[in-house]
């Protein structure tokens, strides 16, 4: 145990209501926002770290929680470096949560807006930015209200630089960083090709830092309690906690916080997952399937999930009902992704619907044929990497994952039968508007 772990830190973290994996979700229960006074009383004042935050996030090995899992310190350093050339940087908090199965960002913004705003302030100071935006999905009115109120509280106390709050456009692609920037600029809200990277030239051509709101919340705690504390949960290689949205065929859907490395089976049991389920969608629509039979004792971490060709993504775990057909569920999801294309690039605009239709055909028992299979595979190879953004790549990943994980189902379909003997229920319904 690090010598940094003093009684004082013990007392502070206990006073903060944190214990074990309960960190960003520690604090008062109840659906509404924790007010500023209570937030500061519980956690202490926001420390002034300036650019020292970059080293702190590096030592903590903090990674982004928006889906890509990119090391936060590298991103901060890149923006700070680009800004050192004289162009003032911009910081954007991303609360678009365009992954439809995810609701962690909504929960954080609605109940702990000051954690997110603390993180935004810390990030801005780290890169010497005074132009700060926060985008919250327009389908989150309570969260928008909570953030507005929180900003008023902070402004009254003269806490932090002003933050421009904007509502995010609907659509899967709207939360992509260049689409977000385009929206803030008052343009079409569609992605653009790279180069240049947004950390070099983003909003208005300025170096831009885009961070998911959960990453910002983690920063708010990390800055106060330090990297050694941060590493007390999680694994040696993947320290910390993360928010997971459990969805699908589960008795207790919703958001919970877990330490990296927690056995997946334990997570599923805690959520009351359908025990007859044979597959999980990890990472949501931008993720991939996992066969429950292949889980073993694996823990929820990037490295262990990578062994099964999936990644945590935005923290979604969707349990496919045992009576549902995985091919159908996958095909439906790919069709939805195809509909979500911003239609700027030919391969995505035309390729994704073609892939989706072929998958839908394959998902109908008795209509499976090797030509359709060959076409899907060829189209996936052709489409991959040829969009301005990674939207088509995500759809291709899901399509390939569907065919790989449900290959047995393909065989059954060839024989004219299906595991979902009754009317297929994809089991993908969520509390929010379903695709």
């Amino acid at each position: 145990m690090s010598p940094i772990r003093t009684e004082a830190l013990e007392a502070r973290t206990a006073a903060a209501g944190m214990s074990g994996a309960l960190r960003v979700l520690a604090g008062p229960a109840g659906p509404g926002p924790e007010p500023l006074e209570a937030h500061l009383h519980r956690l202490g004042d926001l420390p002034v770290l300036g650019s020292h935050l970059i080293e702190v996030t590096a030592r903590a090995r903090l990674r982004g929680r928006g889906g890509a899992g990119f090391p936060t310190s590298k991103k901060l350093a890149a923006v700070a470096a680009a800004a050192s050339w004289g162009r003032s940087p911009v910081v954007i908090g991303n609360g678009s949560e365009s992954e439809p199965l995810s609701s962690k960002d909504e929960l954080l913004l609605r109940r702990r807006p000051h954690l997110v705003l603390d993180g935004l302030e810390l990030a801005a100071r780290a890169v010497a930015s005074s132009e700060i935006y926060l985008v919250v999905s327009q389908s989150y009115p309570e969260a928008l209200r909570a953030v507005r109120q929180a900003l008023k509280e902070r402004s009254r106390e003269r806490l932090g630089d002003p933050v421009r709050l904007l509502s995010g456009r609907p659509g899967f692609v709207s939360g992509e960083e260049t689409a977000l920037i385009s929206r803030i600029e008052g343009r079409g809200g569609r992605p653009r090709a790279r180069p240049p990277l947004v950390v070099e030239r983003g909003l208005g051509g300025h170096p831009t830092l885009v961070q998911n709101v959960e990453t910002l919340a983690q920063l708010a705690l990390l800055a106060r309690f330090g990297p050694e504390w941060y590493a007390e949960a999680g694994t040696p290689d993947e320290p910390g906690t993360t928010l997971v949205t459990l969805a699908g065929a589960v008795a207790r859907p919703g958001v919970f916080e877990t330490a990296f490395g927690t056995p997946l089976k334990a997570l599923l049991d805690a959520g009351g997952a359908d025990t007859s389920s044979r597959a999980l969608l990890v990472g949501g629509y931008f993720g991939g399937w996992l066969s429950t039979g292949a889980l073993g004792g694996r823990g929820y971490s990037r490295s262990e999930l990578a062994e099964l060709d999936v990644s945590p993504g935005a923290g979604v775990l969707m349990v496919l009902s045992g009576s549902a057909c995985g091919l159908r569920a996958g095909a439906t999801a790919v069709r939805w992704l195809a509909q979500q294309s911003s239609r700027q690039c030919g391969p995505c605009t035309f390729g994704l619907p073609a892939i989706a239709n072929a998958l839908l055909q394959l998902s109908e028992p008795g209509r499976t044929d090797d030509d359709a299979l060959e076409r899907v595979r060829r189209w996936c190879s052709d489409v991959e990497g040829r969009g301005a953004c990674h939207h088509p790549d995500g759809a291709v990943r899901l399509a390939r994952s569907t065919l790989r994980v449900f290959s047995e189902e393909l065989g059954r379909h060839r024989d004219g039968s299906c595991v979902a003997e009754a009317a297929p229920d994809p089991g993908m319904a969520t509390a929010r508007s379903a695709p």
Partner: protein, 84 residues
């Protein structure tokens, strides 16, 4: 002499296909008429036609960019990927 490769802005491309006509060695069309471009450096013998393809593209979607070392900065996912 620095090497160059042919790159495309996929948001500008409308699938006219002139590049594939002019440079079949490096460009083939997918099932929807959009170009799939060879990622490697353009062989010296083809540079002239590659420059022509860049010039005649009706939407100015094509460009020739110098290859710098193993990977052009910013084009790879190993840099700073963006999720949705």
């Amino acid at each position: 002499m620095s090497k160059e490769r042919l790159v495309i802005d996929p948001t500008a491309c409308r699938g006219h296909g002139l590049c594939a006509e002019l440079l079949p060695e490096l460009v083939r069309l997918d099932d929807w008429g959009y170009p799939i471009i060879d990622k490697g450096p353009v062989p010296p013998a083809l540079i002239g036609r590659a420059r022509r393809a860049v010039h005649i593209c009706p939407t100015l979607a094509l460009a020739l960019r110098p290859t710098v070392g193993a990977e052009v900065p910013g084009s790879g996912r190993e840099q700073l990927p963006s999720g949705p």
